[in-house]
């Protein structure tokens, strides 16, 4: 008898606990670690406004691949323990197509989307549906040594040709490297390439959705990148650099120019973090061929709600809170993240704290997302390989691009797409 009661109690007790207080609901938010500790503060602000909801913060390594591997494992197992995922913008279509995300279209007021930077919203849309909200953003910029430029009376390079010449000349003159960027075979190389390609007027796909790396613009873009280290503007080692290798050379005072994300700005101003160039760095848009406008590749992270979440409405509410004006302003001021809402850049307090946001905003307004397609990671993988073959010189640029184009054509053919369910 006693035994039976215990068993019954054991079975019922959890049920009682979970519905003891119908007002208390828990949602879990998986996100890359924030070293400034703002995540908890943002969540606390939300909970103050929604007393019935408890938010559990699940902080992961900030590395994109580590998060991707962990999230894919959870989502592929239809895991319900995580309600909100923070996802790299290039995963949005991939996750949406896999059926892992809830569409936000019905919940989010379309009017308020106009208040976000256009590129960031474009990165959240796939098949005319909104799958996420843009949380913070990133875009490629040119960092220059202001002191070296003014000393030699050179202007900031506006064209790739000017950049190449100035980098080779000033680098040799000061016994340092000219121009550093991200040339390792990885996702960052595609960003660097797209910025050159877009500035030349080209694109990965033409208007009909056919890969267009057989275009003259693609050949021109690869030629511009290759000339950088053939002509001593960049060191040969640039083919092994990611963001940090370039950044360390630049903030260590060993490079005149650098292409990087805005995170490098804060580090360049911080002597305690080892910068030898504080107060001597200027930001500008990346160069373009003569007569053309610059282009910048969009990075950044979105917030999305898991299809498997049992608490959709609360999860959407938290996503809306985290992407709201107040939250983004807080995150910009105290966490140093770059907002996705235009209004934050115009805010007086933000302007005073970060005068360089003005240059950033100019680049962000026109920054473009990488193709929003579920097969983007697979295509990007091929592009990284093809570009590196062209740059490292295993084969000629023409041959590398021809072979890359063929592979992309095969991967995006109707038959291949059917097979992959895209």
């Amino acid at each position: 008898m006693w035994k039976k009661t215990t068993i019954a109690a054991c079975c019922v007790l959890p049920l009682l606990l979970s519905c003891a207080d119908p007002g208390t609901r828990t949602i879990t938010w998986a996100v890359g670690k924030d070293p400034t500790g703002r995540h908890q503060a943002l969540v606390d602000a939300f909970c103050r406004r929604h007393p019935g909801i408890t938010v559990k913060l699940l902080e992961m390594p900030e590395s994109s691949t580590a998060q991707h591997d962990a999230y894919v494992t959870h989502l592929a197992a239809a895991d319900q323990s995580i309600d909100i995922y923070s996802i790299d913008i290039i995963w949005t279509a991939e996750f949406a197509n896999a059926g892992w995300l809830s569409p936000l279209g019905g919940h989010v007021d379309t009017l308020q989307l106009k208040e976000f930077l256009p590129g960031t919203v474009a990165g959240c849309r796939y098949r005319d549906t909104l799958w996420a909200l843009p949380w913070f953003t990133d875009a490629g910029l040119l960092f220059s040594r202001a002191d070296i430029l003014s000393e030699s009376g050179s202007p900031v390079p506006k064209t790739w040709q000017q950049l190449e010449t100035a980098a080779a000349r000033l680098g040799a003159k000061h016994g340092m490297t000219g121009y550093v960027w991200q040339g390792q075979q990885y996702e960052g190389l595609v960003c660097n390439f797209l910025e050159v390609l877009w500035s030349c007027g080209g694109d990965l796909f033409d208007s009909t959705g056919r890969p267009s790396l057989d275009s003259p613009e693609a050949a021109q873009a690869v030629a511009i990148m290759k000339r950088m280290f053939d002509g001593n503007a960049s060191p040969p080692g640039v083919l092994t650099y990611k963001e940090e290798e370039a950044r360390q050379l630049f903030t260590g005072g060993q490079a005149v120019f650098m292409r990087n994300w805005p995170y490098a700005w804060a580090l360049a101003q911080d002597a305690a973090k080892g910068s030898a160039v504080t107060g001597r760095v200027m930001l500008s848009a990346l160069p373009a061929p003569a007569g053309r406008g610059p282009a910048s590749c969009l990075g950044g992270w979105n917030l999305a709600v898991s299809r498997f979440s049992k608490n959709q409405a609360d999860a959407v509410a938290l996503v809306e809170h985290l992407t709201s004006f107040e939250a983004q302003k807080d995150f910009a001021l105290n966490g140093g993240r770059l907002p996705t809402r235009s209004a934050v850049y115009a805010d007086g307090e933000v302007r005073r704290a970060y005068p360089h946001f003005e240059q950033l905003y100019a680049a962000f307004r026109t920054a473009r997302p990488r193709p929003v397609r579920p097969d983007y990671p697979a295509l990007s993988d091929e592009i990284q390989l093809g570009l590196h073959r062209a740059l490292a010189g295993n084969v000629t640029v023409a041959q590398a691009l021809r072979e890359l184009q063929e592979r992309l054509m095969r991967m995006t053919s109707p038959a291949a797409r059917r097979e992959r369910g895209t």
Partner: protein, 274 residues
């Protein structure tokens, strides 16, 4: 004369080899003690000892002591159980059921060959079904399974080297099964058993992919994933990462050396007494 020259040659070779093996670690140690400015300047030695990176490792933003404790529990339990189960299996295969040795060893070996990346998703499903996500057993059990093949093979090899006459002699002396194991086998097999335990322990201590996916909660996180919490999306804070690496590695090495001296000599002493 010859012997002395030989000793000197061995000493010299050991010195060179030791320096080569330690060099990257020495670089980590030295870098972890420099302020960031000196790291960026590419110095090899710090101008003065700077403990800022160690303070950052143990700052309240990260539960690093907790990660250390978790790793110690998980790797320790996994190594202990692996060696226990492995010793039992190896004993069975060398003494009790020798004719099954080849097939069992082959099956066990095949299991050592499964690529880890293939196992992650199915393991996640399995451990979730067992309700073991975000628990110690959730990592201990997979670690035991992954390391048992090595343990069984190594221990099988070592046990086989031990002459069976010893055991027979002990049996004649009237010693029970347990006594035989404790006083005859363990002392003789001690170097092998201990080596196996170290190898398994360090493997578990360093595992990343499973630890990342199975134990996502902060309170259950292990040190390798803990170290991965320090780099930013792009930024690589070398000083902090290396400080964390030193904190993780140095106690481990000291622990192994102390244990080695204690346990192995203890066991051998036990044999003499027994």
């Amino acid at each position: 004369m010859m012997a002395r020259a030989g000793r000197i040659a061995i000493g010299a070779a050991a010195t060179v080899a030791g320096i080569v093996m330690l060099a990257p670690f020495a670089l980590q140690l030295s870098t972890s003690l420099m302020p960031s400015g000196e790291i960026a300047a590419g110095r090899l030695l710090p101008s003065a000892l700077h403990l800022g990176h160690y303070r950052a490792v143990f700052s309240a933003q990260y539960s690093f002591p907790r990660y250390l404790a978790n790793s110690l529990v998980i790797a320790g339990a996994a190594a202990l159980i692996t060696v226990l189960l492995g010793s039992a299996a190896a004993y069975a295969l060398t003494r009790v059921a020798r004719r099954y040795a080849l097939p069992v060893l082959m099956i066990v070996l095949v299991s050592a060959m499964v690529p880890q990346i293939a196992a992650v998703s199915p393991l996640f499903l399995l451990l979730r079904a067992l309700g073991l996500l975000n628990t110690y057993p959730g990592l201990i059990i997979p670690y035991i399974g992954v390391n048992l093949p090595l343990a069984i093979w190594v221990l099988y090899g070592f046990f086989r080297q031990l002459p069976p006459e010893l055991e027979e002699a002990a049996a004649i002396d009237g010693a029970g099964f347990g006594d035989t194991i404790r006083h005859v086998y363990l002392p003789l097999a001690a170097p092998g058993v201990f080596t196996t335990a170290i190898l398994v322990f360090i493997f578990c201590w360093n595992e990343f992919l499973l630890a990342l996916t199975i134990n996502t909660a902060d309170a259950m996180r292990t040190v390798t994933v803990g170290i991965a919490m320090f780099p930013g999306q792009y930024e690589m804070p070398w000083g902090v990462i290396f400080a964390a690496s030193v904190v993780v590695t140095l106690p481990l090495v000291v622990l192994v050396l102390v244990l080695q001296r204690r346990i192995v000599s203890g066991l051998i002493a036990g044999a003499v007494k027994g």
